[in-house]
Symmetry: C2
Subunit: 278 residues, 2 copies
């Protein structure tokens, strides 16, 4: 049995944990949402790095032998700082996401060389240029688009007809039209924030309305596969020990359980409140 | 010359400072935006109190003799904690805002007894019930409406036709229609968040479209008058010393200067980065 730490500024990283659980049955998972200091996406590199390193250290102190930075902003701006601070393997979401985009580009009718990847992300992730550099390193053309209103819309829950999804569709239309001005040939859309998978049906509707089909990729599944490759399944453990999940948050437990279940796709058991200072 | 501290989680409190400056010329103002830990409005009471007390203490340590909590969320959830922690006079925004609403209700054709006050605010402010209690204590009927998307929309700057104000108008229409179901006779609208004065023209447009006229009140001017009454102008200082403003922020100086000038209505001079932990 291994202990795997999963960290996000809030709830979005639970979409990564959701993909991890079936790949690594019998392991112990520690999830930390740094909800007292979220959002990271609108803050500066120095502040994000300070928050991310203290969060990562907390999980290592709890026994994590491998750490997943299930937050695009923390990965884009603080992966090197976290790796310097901790002697355990660290997996971020940017590289797996970029590799998924490469696979989608290769499989597309344009092929990788003629493909253009459009990355939707927070302001901080976009400003860091981490996705663009990583995608260009894989030989892909890439454009990043900052979408500051998408996280608040997901957290407000305006995701279906009963909850004002018309506003969310209009915001998506505006962001995608602005992005397509810069990247008219984009054929792969990479969701560069762990909140965005919850918007996927609305993004598909918007792309249909704009008559601009794109293959949509998120990094959750690819990140989970990268973790499973690093932490290969211990065959004996599968049968003997059940998967254990422990949840920690730095702010309101009640809100964490309520919002978190949407991202994890099932009820959250006990969540423990911790204080990382501040 | 007195030293007056003004504190907000971010930039909104600058709308209060803007009203204070002409009332107290010659005084020294210290403004702190706790931008590394914003927003407060979506967080729990315990976390908000911890952040607000440490911010208030910082301003007292810098010499503030009187403190203005220019943040509705911090006032609603942490005013008592701040008063317990510091031996200096503390002025919040809830009481002056409520008194302005009372004055508007008395001046309305319905009169105070038949008036109904609608308060728009963050989730945390609404959940605290601070405005409802204070307004009811003044003999007024009050309804609070949580509007989590308004702060992100103001920070994204979607406030005029060139910047997608149609989305902001639609969000306002949804929030106001929902609020009016609960409070159909509302005739006074109290802006219970220091970000909202920037939405005032769009709120007026929305109310016209809904054919539901209301008197709009914000607490910035009333708070400034309450402070001036507590800190009467030293006559000799007016002529001799110029007003001094010092600005502190816990996150990105560049963003503080850029966004802050919109709220203050003029350029911000030097902003100092400070670390309150976390």
């Amino acid at each position: 049995m291994k202990t795997i730490g999963v960290f996000d500024s809030g709830f979005g990283g639970l979409t990564v944990l959701r993909e991890l659980l079936p790949l690594l049955p019998g392991d112990r998972f520690l999830y930390l949402g740094d909800t007292a200091r979220l959002p990271y996406g609108s803050k500066s590199r120095a502040t994000i790095a300070r928050y991310a390193v203290s969060s990562a250290k907390f999980l290592a102190d709890q026994g994590a032998e491998l750490l997943v930075i299930a937050c695009n902003t923390a990965t884009a701006l603080a992966l090197d700082d976290i790796r310097e601070a901790l002697p355990i393997p660290i997996v971020g979401v940017v590289e797996p996401g970029a590799e998924s985009a490469l696979a989608a580009a290769i499989a597309s009718k344009q092929g990788a060389a003629a493909s253009q990847i459009l990355v939707l992300a927070t302001a901080a992730t976009t400003q860091s240029g981490a996705y663009r550099r990583t995608l260009e390193g894989l030989g892909l053309r890439a454009t990043e688009k900052s979408c500051p209103l998408l996280v608040p819309l997901v957290e407000e829950g305006w995701l279906d007809a009963a909850t004002h999804d018309s506003v969310t569709l209009e915001v998506l239309r505006i962001y995608l039209l602005e992005a397509m001005e810069e990247a008219p040939a984009a054929n792969v859309l990479l969701l560069g924030c762990t909140h965005y998978p919850l918007l996927r049906p609305l993004i598909e509707t918007t792309l249909e309305d704009l008559r601009h089909p794109m293959r949509i990729i998120d990094s959750a599944a690819a990140t989970a596969r990268a973790v499973a490759a690093l932490a290969p399944q211990d065959v004996t453990s599968t049968a003997s020990s059940p998967t254990r999940c422990e949840f920690y948050a730095t702010d309101s437990i009640e809100k964490f359980q309520r919002l978190g279940s949407t991202f994890l796709g099932r009820e959250l058991p006990e969540v423990r409140l911790i204080d990382l200072g501040g």
